[in-house]
Protein backbone atom coordinates (compact mmCIF):
# COMPACT_ATOMS: atom_id res chain seq x y z
CA UNK A 1 0.00 0.00 0.00
CA UNK A 2 1.36 3.41 -0.92
CA UNK A 3 1.55 6.41 1.38
CA UNK A 4 -1.12 8.13 -0.72
CA UNK A 5 -3.45 5.18 -0.31
CA UNK A 6 -2.83 5.19 3.45
CA UNK A 7 -3.81 8.85 3.48
CA UNK A 8 -6.80 8.12 1.27
CA UNK A 9 -5.59 10.23 -1.64
CA UNK A 10 -4.96 9.36 -5.26
CA UNK A 11 -1.44 9.68 -6.67
CA UNK A 12 -1.21 13.14 -8.30
CA UNK A 13 -0.94 13.07 -12.09
CA UNK A 14 1.76 15.73 -11.96
CA UNK A 15 4.12 16.43 -9.12
CA UNK A 16 4.76 19.82 -7.54
CA UNK A 17 6.24 22.43 -9.86
CA UNK A 18 5.55 20.44 -13.02
CA UNK A 19 3.64 21.67 -16.08
CA UNK A 20 2.05 19.44 -18.75
CA UNK A 21 4.47 18.23 -21.41
CA UNK A 22 3.98 19.38 -25.03
CA UNK A 23 2.45 17.14 -27.71
CA UNK A 24 3.97 15.20 -30.65
CA UNK A 25 3.40 18.07 -33.12
CA UNK A 26 5.72 20.40 -31.18
CA UNK A 27 8.31 17.63 -30.81
CA UNK A 28 8.36 17.10 -34.59
CA UNK A 29 8.62 20.86 -35.18
CA UNK A 30 11.60 21.02 -32.80
CA UNK A 31 13.12 18.02 -34.60
CA UNK A 32 12.90 19.90 -37.91
CA UNK A 33 14.50 23.00 -36.32
CA UNK A 34 17.31 20.84 -34.88
CA UNK A 35 17.95 19.28 -38.30
CA UNK A 36 18.07 22.74 -39.91
CA UNK A 37 20.44 23.90 -37.17
CA UNK A 38 22.79 21.00 -37.83
CA UNK A 39 22.59 21.55 -41.61
CA UNK A 40 23.52 25.22 -41.01
CA UNK A 41 26.54 24.13 -38.95
CA UNK A 42 27.79 21.90 -41.76
CA UNK A 43 27.13 24.69 -44.29
CA UNK A 44 29.20 27.08 -42.15
CA UNK A 45 32.05 24.56 -42.13
CA UNK A 46 32.17 24.54 -45.94
CA UNK A 47 31.37 28.24 -46.43
CA UNK A 48 35.02 29.24 -46.10
CA UNK A 49 34.26 32.36 -44.07
CA UNK A 50 36.88 33.99 -41.84
CA UNK A 51 37.62 32.14 -38.60
CA UNK A 52 35.97 34.47 -36.06
CA UNK A 53 32.47 34.54 -37.62
CA UNK A 54 32.65 30.80 -38.31
CA UNK A 55 33.54 29.99 -34.70
CA UNK A 56 30.91 32.41 -33.35
CA UNK A 57 28.10 30.99 -35.51
CA UNK A 58 29.12 27.35 -34.92
CA UNK A 59 29.21 27.82 -31.15
CA UNK A 60 25.90 29.73 -31.22
CA UNK A 61 24.19 26.98 -33.26
CA UNK A 62 25.65 24.31 -30.97
CA UNK A 63 24.29 26.11 -27.88
CA UNK A 64 20.84 26.56 -29.49
CA UNK A 65 20.64 22.85 -30.46
CA UNK A 66 21.87 21.81 -27.00
CA UNK A 67 19.28 23.85 -25.13
CA UNK A 68 16.42 22.98 -27.48
CA UNK A 69 16.93 19.28 -26.67
CA UNK A 70 17.43 19.92 -22.95
CA UNK A 71 14.49 22.30 -22.54
CA UNK A 72 11.87 20.54 -24.70
CA UNK A 73 12.87 16.92 -25.18
CA UNK A 74 14.24 16.51 -21.65
CA UNK A 75 11.31 18.64 -20.38
CA UNK A 76 13.46 20.90 -18.22
CA UNK A 77 11.18 23.76 -19.26
CA UNK A 78 8.16 21.94 -17.84
CA UNK A 79 9.58 20.05 -14.85
CA UNK A 80 10.36 21.18 -11.33
CA UNK A 81 12.81 24.12 -11.24
CA UNK A 82 15.04 22.25 -8.82
CA UNK A 83 16.02 19.86 -11.63
CA UNK A 84 17.03 22.83 -13.79
CA UNK A 85 19.19 24.19 -10.97
CA UNK A 86 20.85 20.81 -10.61
CA UNK A 87 21.68 20.50 -14.30
CA UNK A 88 22.69 24.14 -14.73
CA UNK A 89 24.98 23.65 -11.71
CA UNK A 90 26.70 20.82 -13.58
CA UNK A 91 26.94 22.95 -16.74
CA UNK A 92 28.42 25.92 -14.84
CA UNK A 93 31.04 23.65 -13.25
CA UNK A 94 31.81 22.19 -16.68
CA UNK A 95 32.15 25.69 -18.18
CA UNK A 96 34.51 26.68 -15.35
CA UNK A 97 36.54 23.51 -15.90
CA UNK A 98 36.75 24.28 -19.63
CA UNK A 99 37.96 27.83 -19.06
CA UNK A 100 40.51 26.81 -16.40
CA UNK A 101 41.92 23.90 -18.44
CA UNK A 102 42.11 25.81 -21.74
CA UNK A 103 43.53 28.95 -20.12
CA UNK A 104 46.06 27.08 -17.97
CA UNK A 105 47.34 24.85 -20.76
CA UNK A 106 47.24 27.57 -23.40
CA UNK A 107 44.69 26.04 -25.76
CA UNK A 108 41.65 27.51 -27.46
CA UNK A 109 38.67 26.66 -29.60
CA UNK A 110 40.61 27.50 -32.76
Amino acid sequence: MTLSEIRGKKEPARRAGERPHPGPRLYVTIGVILALGEASEVAMFYAGLPQWPTVAVLVALMVVNFFMVVLWFMHLLFDNRFLSSLFVGGLVLTGALFVVVLATLGAGLF
Binding site: T2, L3, S4, E11, R15, A16, G17, H21, G23, P24, Y27, V28, I30, G31, L34, A35, E38, E41, V42, M44, F45, Y46, V55, L58, V59, L61, M62, N65, F66, V69, V70, W72, F73, M74, H75, D79, N80, F82, L83, L86, F87, G89, G90, L91, L93, T94, G95, L97, F98, V101, L102, L105, A107, G108, L109, F110
Partner: protein
Amino acid sequence: MEHAPAAERALETSTGIDNRKLLMWLFLASECLFFGSLIAAYLVYRGDHEVPCRAGDLAACVFPTDRTVNGVEYEGLFDIPFTSVSAFVLLMSSVSMVLSLAAIQRGDQRGFRVWLMTTALLGIVFVGGQAFEFTEFHEKGLSLGTNLFGTTFFVTTGFHGAHVTVGVLILLSLLVMSFRGRLGQAQSLHVELAGLYWHFVDVVFVVIFSLIYLLQP
Protein backbone atom coordinates in the same frame (compact mmCIF):
# COMPACT_ATOMS: atom_id res chain seq x y z
CA MET B 1 2.54 -11.30 -2.88
CA GLU B 2 2.60 -9.15 -5.98
CA HIS B 3 4.55 -5.92 -6.04
CA ALA B 4 2.77 -2.70 -6.90
CA PRO B 5 3.87 -0.99 -10.15
CA ALA B 6 6.69 1.53 -9.83
CA ALA B 7 4.47 4.56 -10.34
CA GLU B 8 2.14 3.41 -7.58
CA ARG B 9 5.06 2.81 -5.24
CA ALA B 10 6.27 6.39 -5.70
CA LEU B 11 6.16 8.09 -2.32
CA GLU B 12 5.78 11.77 -1.74
CA THR B 13 9.16 13.41 -1.26
CA SER B 14 10.17 16.64 0.45
CA THR B 15 11.27 18.10 -2.90
CA GLY B 16 8.09 17.03 -4.71
CA ILE B 17 10.28 15.24 -7.27
CA ASP B 18 10.47 11.48 -7.69
CA ASN B 19 13.80 10.35 -6.22
CA ARG B 20 14.63 8.27 -9.30
CA LYS B 21 14.24 11.30 -11.55
CA LEU B 22 16.27 13.45 -9.16
CA LEU B 23 19.03 10.85 -9.16
CA MET B 24 19.04 10.68 -12.97
CA TRP B 25 19.45 14.46 -13.26
CA LEU B 26 22.23 14.38 -10.64
CA PHE B 27 23.94 11.64 -12.67
CA LEU B 28 23.57 13.68 -15.88
CA ALA B 29 25.02 16.77 -14.18
CA SER B 30 28.06 14.68 -13.18
CA GLU B 31 28.28 13.34 -16.75
CA CYS B 32 28.59 16.94 -17.98
CA LEU B 33 31.83 17.19 -16.04
CA PHE B 34 33.00 13.80 -17.32
CA PHE B 35 32.52 14.68 -20.99
CA GLY B 36 33.62 18.28 -20.39
CA SER B 37 36.98 17.00 -19.11
CA LEU B 38 37.43 14.69 -22.11
CA ILE B 39 36.55 17.38 -24.68
CA ALA B 40 38.80 19.94 -22.94
CA ALA B 41 41.66 17.40 -22.99
CA TYR B 42 41.09 16.89 -26.73
CA LEU B 43 41.15 20.65 -27.39
CA VAL B 44 44.38 20.98 -25.41
CA TYR B 45 46.24 18.10 -27.01
CA ARG B 46 44.92 18.01 -30.59
CA GLY B 47 47.65 20.45 -31.69
CA ASP B 48 50.43 18.30 -30.24
CA HIS B 49 50.24 15.86 -33.14
CA GLU B 50 52.42 18.27 -35.12
CA VAL B 51 55.36 17.85 -32.73
CA PRO B 52 56.39 14.29 -33.72
CA CYS B 53 55.67 15.26 -37.33
CA ARG B 54 58.18 18.11 -37.18
CA ALA B 55 60.71 15.74 -35.58
CA GLY B 56 60.50 13.60 -38.67
CA ASP B 57 58.30 10.79 -37.36
CA LEU B 58 56.13 10.37 -40.45
CA ALA B 59 54.09 7.58 -38.87
CA ALA B 60 52.67 10.13 -36.43
CA CYS B 61 51.76 12.63 -39.17
CA VAL B 62 48.04 11.98 -39.07
CA PHE B 63 45.79 15.03 -38.94
CA PRO B 64 42.08 15.62 -38.38
CA THR B 65 41.78 17.83 -41.48
CA ASP B 66 43.93 18.67 -44.53
CA ARG B 67 47.17 20.24 -43.33
CA THR B 68 50.50 21.45 -44.70
CA VAL B 69 53.46 20.90 -42.35
CA ASN B 70 56.97 21.94 -43.39
CA GLY B 71 55.75 22.30 -46.97
CA VAL B 72 54.31 18.78 -47.06
CA GLU B 73 50.58 18.40 -47.67
CA TYR B 74 48.74 15.82 -45.58
CA GLU B 75 45.21 14.61 -46.20
CA GLY B 76 42.90 14.95 -43.18
CA LEU B 77 41.13 12.00 -41.60
CA PHE B 78 37.75 13.50 -40.77
CA ASP B 79 34.96 12.71 -43.20
CA ILE B 80 32.57 15.54 -42.36
CA PRO B 81 29.69 14.45 -44.67
CA PHE B 82 29.75 10.97 -43.09
CA THR B 83 29.86 12.29 -39.51
CA SER B 84 27.12 14.82 -40.37
CA VAL B 85 24.85 11.92 -41.31
CA SER B 86 25.75 10.16 -38.03
CA ALA B 87 24.96 13.34 -36.09
CA PHE B 88 21.66 13.67 -37.96
CA VAL B 89 20.77 10.03 -37.18
CA LEU B 90 21.39 10.59 -33.45
CA LEU B 91 19.46 13.86 -33.50
CA MET B 92 16.47 12.15 -35.12
CA SER B 93 16.68 9.33 -32.57
CA SER B 94 16.00 11.98 -29.93
CA VAL B 95 12.79 12.92 -31.77
CA SER B 96 11.65 9.28 -31.94
CA MET B 97 12.54 8.83 -28.23
CA VAL B 98 10.41 11.74 -27.10
CA LEU B 99 7.57 10.52 -29.36
CA SER B 100 7.76 7.08 -27.74
CA LEU B 101 7.49 8.71 -24.30
CA ALA B 102 4.50 10.78 -25.44
CA ALA B 103 2.89 7.58 -26.78
CA ILE B 104 3.25 5.59 -23.56
CA GLN B 105 2.09 8.53 -21.47
CA ARG B 106 -1.21 8.54 -23.38
CA GLY B 107 -1.43 4.73 -23.20
CA ASP B 108 -0.64 4.05 -26.87
CA GLN B 109 1.39 0.82 -26.58
CA ARG B 110 1.72 0.26 -30.32
CA GLY B 111 2.99 3.79 -30.95
CA PHE B 112 5.36 3.44 -28.00
CA ARG B 113 6.86 0.22 -29.36
CA VAL B 114 7.22 1.56 -32.92
CA TRP B 115 8.97 4.76 -31.80
CA LEU B 116 11.14 2.98 -29.25
CA MET B 117 12.22 0.41 -31.84
CA THR B 118 13.00 3.25 -34.25
CA THR B 119 15.14 4.93 -31.57
CA ALA B 120 17.05 1.71 -30.86
CA LEU B 121 17.61 1.13 -34.59
CA LEU B 122 18.89 4.68 -35.11
CA GLY B 123 21.20 4.17 -32.12
CA ILE B 124 22.53 0.95 -33.65
CA VAL B 125 23.10 2.78 -36.97
CA PHE B 126 25.05 5.47 -35.12
CA VAL B 127 27.23 2.94 -33.27
CA GLY B 128 27.79 1.05 -36.55
CA GLY B 129 28.87 4.29 -38.21
CA GLN B 130 31.29 4.99 -35.39
CA ALA B 131 32.77 1.49 -35.65
CA PHE B 132 33.23 2.07 -39.41
CA GLU B 133 34.85 5.46 -38.76
CA PHE B 134 37.23 4.02 -36.15
CA THR B 135 38.22 1.21 -38.53
CA GLU B 136 38.88 3.71 -41.34
CA PHE B 137 41.01 5.88 -39.07
CA HIS B 138 42.95 2.86 -37.85
CA GLU B 139 43.64 1.77 -41.43
CA LYS B 140 44.91 5.27 -42.22
CA GLY B 141 47.39 5.07 -39.35
CA LEU B 142 45.62 6.62 -36.37
CA SER B 143 45.40 4.56 -33.21
CA LEU B 144 45.26 5.30 -29.48
CA GLY B 145 49.05 5.44 -29.33
CA THR B 146 49.87 7.23 -32.60
CA ASN B 147 49.87 10.71 -31.12
CA LEU B 148 47.97 12.81 -28.58
CA PHE B 149 45.32 13.66 -31.19
CA GLY B 150 44.63 9.90 -31.55
CA THR B 151 44.58 9.29 -27.79
CA THR B 152 42.21 12.11 -26.91
CA PHE B 153 40.02 11.60 -30.00
CA PHE B 154 39.48 7.86 -29.46
CA VAL B 155 38.97 8.21 -25.69
CA THR B 156 36.40 11.02 -26.06
CA THR B 157 34.38 9.61 -28.96
CA GLY B 158 34.86 6.03 -27.71
CA PHE B 159 33.35 6.86 -24.32
CA HIS B 160 30.47 8.56 -26.10
CA GLY B 161 29.95 5.50 -28.30
CA ALA B 162 29.98 3.30 -25.18
CA HIS B 163 27.25 5.51 -23.70
CA VAL B 164 25.15 5.13 -26.87
CA THR B 165 25.64 1.34 -26.72
CA VAL B 166 24.45 1.27 -23.09
CA GLY B 167 21.49 3.43 -24.16
CA VAL B 168 20.57 0.97 -26.93
CA LEU B 169 20.67 -1.90 -24.40
CA ILE B 170 18.37 0.06 -22.05
CA LEU B 171 15.93 0.73 -24.92
CA LEU B 172 15.92 -2.91 -25.96
CA SER B 173 15.25 -4.04 -22.38
CA LEU B 174 12.33 -1.58 -22.23
CA LEU B 175 11.00 -3.14 -25.44
CA VAL B 176 11.26 -6.63 -23.93
CA MET B 177 9.45 -5.38 -20.79
CA SER B 178 6.74 -3.91 -22.98
CA PHE B 179 6.22 -7.12 -24.98
CA ARG B 180 6.00 -9.06 -21.70
CA GLY B 181 3.26 -6.69 -20.54
CA ARG B 182 5.34 -5.23 -17.71
CA LEU B 183 5.54 -1.70 -19.08
CA GLY B 184 2.33 0.28 -19.28
CA GLN B 185 1.14 3.84 -18.83
CA ALA B 186 1.62 3.55 -15.04
CA GLN B 187 5.32 2.75 -15.51
CA SER B 188 6.02 5.56 -18.00
CA LEU B 189 8.62 6.97 -15.59
CA HIS B 190 10.98 4.16 -16.65
CA VAL B 191 10.71 5.39 -20.24
CA GLU B 192 11.13 9.01 -19.13
CA LEU B 193 14.36 8.16 -17.28
CA ALA B 194 15.70 6.18 -20.25
CA GLY B 195 14.73 9.13 -22.45
CA LEU B 196 16.64 11.58 -20.26
CA TYR B 197 19.76 9.44 -20.62
CA TRP B 198 19.26 9.10 -24.38
CA HIS B 199 18.72 12.82 -24.96
CA PHE B 200 21.79 13.59 -22.89
CA VAL B 201 23.89 11.27 -25.03
CA ASP B 202 22.48 13.12 -28.04
CA VAL B 203 23.38 16.60 -26.74
CA VAL B 204 26.88 15.40 -25.90
CA PHE B 205 27.31 14.50 -29.56
CA VAL B 206 25.95 17.91 -30.58
CA VAL B 207 28.91 19.36 -28.63
CA ILE B 208 31.42 16.76 -29.87
CA PHE B 209 30.35 17.28 -33.49
CA SER B 210 30.79 21.05 -33.25
CA LEU B 211 33.94 21.27 -31.12
CA ILE B 212 35.84 18.21 -32.32
CA TYR B 213 34.78 17.75 -35.95
CA LEU B 214 33.77 21.20 -37.21
CA LEU B 215 35.94 23.65 -35.26
CA GLN B 216 39.42 23.19 -36.63
CA PRO B 217 42.52 25.21 -35.79
